[in-house]
């Protein structure tokens, strides 16, 4: 048992609500309206986002866990929920140079959870609405203005 351990993928889902507006300085007003449609509304709009993070690792023989859920929840609370919940994404530093699309959000969330010290991040999956979801496996860079 000590030298052959099952490798399991552990997934945890977190939720936050935020507003945003899709708009880029690279386009004029008309082009922004064309590309982003109602998401370009000057006053913004919002979503209940669901972030699903998946970690991969050998199950620890002493705890039966890939990583301690208390550690992961505390990390998510500090690094994700406290930062993003009930905010306007466009005002955040991570979207100073990128459009607050869920693609770019997924890349930022991937960057955050890749720093979780106790397990290896496999995938970030974000649901912007129940109809739209995005997966990031860590090999993408955010689109810049």
């Amino acid at each position: 048992m000590s030298n052959s351990r099952p490798v399991v993928l552990l997934s945890r889902r977190y939720h936050f609500s935020a507003s945003h507006r899709l708009h880029t300085e690279a386009y004029d007003a008309e082009r922004n309206r064309e590309v982003y449609g109602k998401c370009n509304n000057a006053h913004g709009h919002g979503h209940n986002y669901t972030v699903q993070v998946t970690f991969r690792g050998a199950v620890d023989a002493e705890t039966g866990m890939v990583c301690n859920l208390g550690d992961l929840d505390a990390f998510a609370r500090t690094k994700l929920i406290d930062r993003f919940d009930h905010t306007n994404l466009n005002t955040m530093e991570c979207f100073a140079e990128t459009v607050s699309t869920t693609e770019n959000l997924a890349i930022e969330v991937q960057r955050i959870f890749a720093e979780f010290p106790y397990a290896r991040l496999e995938r970030v999956h974000i649901e912007e609405t129940s109809n739209n979801s995005f997966d990031c496996t860590g090999d993408s860079a955010p689109g810049r203005f």
């Binding site: 030298n3 052959s4 351990r5 099952p6 490798v7 399991v8 993928l9 552990l10 997934s11 945890r12 889902r13 977190y14 998946t54 050998a58 199950v59 002493e62 705890t63 039966g64 866990m65 890939v66 301690n68 859920l69 208390g70």
Partner: protein, 139 residues
């Protein structure tokens, strides 16, 4: 290759405890999950099998047969039971979501006719689940 997924549900009690540790250590690592009176969950099991479509039946596996296998091998043993006290594999392994997924893999592997077990997914709650593909790390 077709992947076919069947769900099943079971409701069980459990707690997390490592006998090699003191009560303080168990409470520090496992938090409220270390309460020895136990607590419970409605688990959802998703079993994915992989195989080729039978040209006559059009099935990878007969879903009724798969349902019966899940019932016989897992649900009848786990449902409305205390995992720590009443399910043999958890006499030695802590019934975490990870270990439950691995244990169910071993219960099902090789028992599904005409298809290969591909993935066992166990939801402890809608916001927490573990996937096992039968992978072993040798260290």
């Amino acid at each position: 290759m077709i992947f076919l997924t069947r769900k099943a549900e079971f409701s069980s009690a459990h707690f997390y405890w490592n006998d090699a540790w003191t009560q303080e250590e168990n409470e520090r690592v496992f938090g409220k999950c270390a309460n020895r009176n136990g607590h419970g969950h409605n688990y959802t099991l998703e079993v994915t099998v992989a195989g080729e479509v039978d040209p006559v039946s059009g099935f990878v596996v007969d879903l009724k047969e798969l349902k019966d296998i899940l019932e016989r091998e897992v649900v009848s043993i786990y449902d409305h039971r205390h995992l720590n006290f009443e399910v043999p594999e958890f006499k030695t392994a802590i019934p975490t979501t990870e270990n439950i997924a691995v244990a169910i893999w071993h219960r099902l592997d090789g028992k599904i006719p005409n298809a290969k077990l591909h993935r066992v997914r166990v939801y402890e709650m809608p916001d927490l689940f573990a996937d096992y593909y039968g992978e072993i790390a040798h260290e």
